[in-house]
Amino acid sequence: MKKPFENIVADHAAAVLRVCRTVVGVHDADDAWSETFISAMRAYPDLPEDANVEAWLVTIAHRKAIDVIRTQNRTAVRSGELPETAAPFGHQRTGDDELWVSLRSLPDKQRQAVAYHYLGGLPYVEVASILGGTTEAARRAAADGIKSMRRTFTEMKAKGMSK
């Protein structure tokens, strides 16, 4: 039996926001999140009862994130740095900054693979079906992404910015 949509929001809101932040950055994540849940709510009655809700939401979030990324590229906002004007309540925990910086420096595909696998909890076969390409390519993109994040992260850690 399918739950009221409110339960879907309660169960997945935070995870989807993390995915959005990872893919489009903190600045645009709120809009990507909102578009994702409006779109999901509209389609929810047609979702099969046995569907994997998390994978479904991450797939929608991916589409919305691509829209956002296109807009970002058009307006040349992306520069590998955190935007100066953060959305309300942007990011709160100190020590997160270097994480977002290292994420922003990843190529789109790697960042998406990291987001969908590690934050969305999707197995690589699902990540591959969202990103296109083989399961092995998705696995490699995520691994490369993590590796390169580790480099940036370790450098910052050396500077004493993180524990």
Partner: protein
């Protein structure tokens, strides 16, 4: 465990534990409520309120107030039933319930003796709905019997069916099924429990 794997786990753990604050989540939820409503896809909105007879769940469609439920009925169960019978597009979206909540507050403060709210009776049909639509005619502070209601709706022998219609009233308090008693003066039944029924009658000085 080699160095690579440890580092990988560390990064992904940090990512996973980057938990957005409650403040952000509440703000986003708020935004979802208004844009779902604007785009016409908020089929059922609900909120819970505290009253002297315990927490109440209020739910409304675009047409009007759809459901008032007592905590003993189980709010989760009530919402699941609404998802099945009305729509799965349900959000906790208090704004649509502001007027209803306000009037119920006034009722418990004894400054309101009749409700002035659009009602959505789509959870009942047939004879039950006929009976339920009739109940607001029983004035504040008055009581009547199941038998009398049966006669008034033109079916004097349907006393049991009137009892069922009262028991299945989707809008208790607002649709005052608590004002219907047994012919011998006994309380009869009540979805919120008999203690609540007599508390309401006492509030109205009906008994």
């Amino acid at each position: 465990m080699n160095k690579e794997t440890t580092a990988e786990m560390k990064i992904s753990n940090v990512l996973a534990f980057t938990i957005p604050s409650n403040e952000v989540m509440a703000w986003l939820h708020d935004r979802l409520e208004s844009s779902a409503d604007e785009r016409g896809i908020l089929d059922v909105a609900y909120k819970t309120i505290d009253t002297p007879v315990g927490s109440l769940l209020l739910a409304a469609t675009k047409k009007g107030l759809l459901r008032v439920a007592f905590q003993v009925e189980g709010f989760d169960e009530v919402l699941e039933l609404l998802a099945r019978k009305v729509s799965q597009r349900i959000l906790k979206a208090p704004k649509r319930l502001d007027t209803a909540a306000f009037e119920i507050d006034e009722y418990f403060a004894r400054t309101r003796t009749r409700f002035d709210l659009p009602l959505d009776f789509s959870l009942s049909s047939g004879f039950r709905q006929v009976v339920q639509r009739h109940l607001p005619n029983i004035a504040y502070g008055q009581t009547t019997s199941y038998q009398h209601v049966a006669a008034l709706v033109g079916n004097p022998r349907a006393v049991r069916a009137v009892g069922t219609a009262c028991a299945k009233n989707p809008l208790p308090i607002v649709v005052p099924c608590h004002r219907v008693l047994r012919s011998d003066g006994g309380l009869g039944g009540y979805a919120g429990g008999l203690a609540v029924k007599s508390a309401l009658l006492q509030l109205e000085n009906a008994r």
